[in-house]
Amino acid sequence: MSNKKNNQVSRRQFLNYTLTGVGGFMGAALIAPMVGFAVDPLLKGEKSGDFVYVLDVDEITETPQKVSFQVDQTDGWYESKVEKNAFVFYDSNGDILALSPVCTHLGCTVDWATEKENEFFCPCHDGRYNAEGENIAGTPPTEPLHEYTFKVEEGKLYLSPETHARGGA
């Protein structure tokens, strides 16, 4: 008689098992996406940090050279190859500078020495930047041309597709 009772699962035990089981799944369902979101920047960081080779360091001069390179761009779910341009040169301190040709006013493409010698010029609203890419007062741009992050390895220049504003330039 007592033997039979031992084999049975009591109501209390049964409820305990099922509730922990179901509760566990619900908890996991809640936490999994949270972990995903928390780690997401790490996963992304790796992707946008892809450096692209553009030219050899010994080709760089003091005159800005326009170089172009292709990067993968993701707009939402849509992936495409995008061509980016940069002006690469040595600044007056002898440091390498890789500037974005996107005008800081409204995003037109600037060009080197088209209107005035030793200046970057934006054809849209006559924006001007000096030889270091700093905006010239009295013209529409409000800040210097943005800069690409770059790295040099074994005499080759690599650019990151990301640009950033230049502090204290």
């Binding site: 005008c103 409204l106 037109c108 054809p123 849209c124 609203h125 529409p140």
Partner: protein, 153 residues
């Protein structure tokens, strides 16, 4: 500027600077297989041209949604509709309205249009990835860019 939310918000804030409009005129076909191949290729080309131009002159150029029409419809019937559209666009105000097209039917009607017609000879076919085709396209785009800049000075 393109007709996307991000650009439109910028446009609304900076209207005074953006005074030039581009409207691509793109025909399409559904009744003839050969024409379909031709017009779809031209449609691709137009996307390439107009987006490149927009990118280069983003701060002053507004790229409108494509104006489409059936390639066997009477072009005369389209003129009124386009002119109405141009009237609306000019009210914004846009000083210059360029109509970009590969369709040679328009060439006869350049004077009855209220915008400036820019007709381009289209590459018949070819691999858009090949370097030769790219060079041709690049040089045409630079030509149009010069045309637009001339209207500014």
């Amino acid at each position: 500027m393109k007709y996307i939310e991000e650009d439109i918000k910028m446009y609304i804030a900076e209207k005074e600077y953006i005074d030039t409009a581009i409207i691509p005129l793109v025909p399409y076909a559904i009744d003839d297989d050969q024409e379909m191949i031709l017009t779809s290729f031209q449609q691709e080309l137009m996307t390439l041209y107009s987006h490149q131009l927009e990118q280069r002159l983003k701060g002053r150029l507004f790229l409108f949604p494509v104006y489409t029409y059936l390639n066997n419809s009477l072009i005369e019937n389209e003129i009124d509709r386009i002119n109405q559209l141009i009237d609306e666009v000019k009210k914004q105000p846009f000083n210059e309205v360029f109509l970009l097209t590969f369709d040679k039917q328009w060439r006869k009607h350049g004077t009855s249009l209220k915008g400036e017609l820019v007709w381009l000879p289209a590459i018949k076919n070819g691999n858009l990835q090949s370097n030769e085709v790219r060079e041709v396209i690049q040089s045409q785009i630079i030509d149009i860019e010069e045309l637009i800049k001339e209207s500014w000075s």
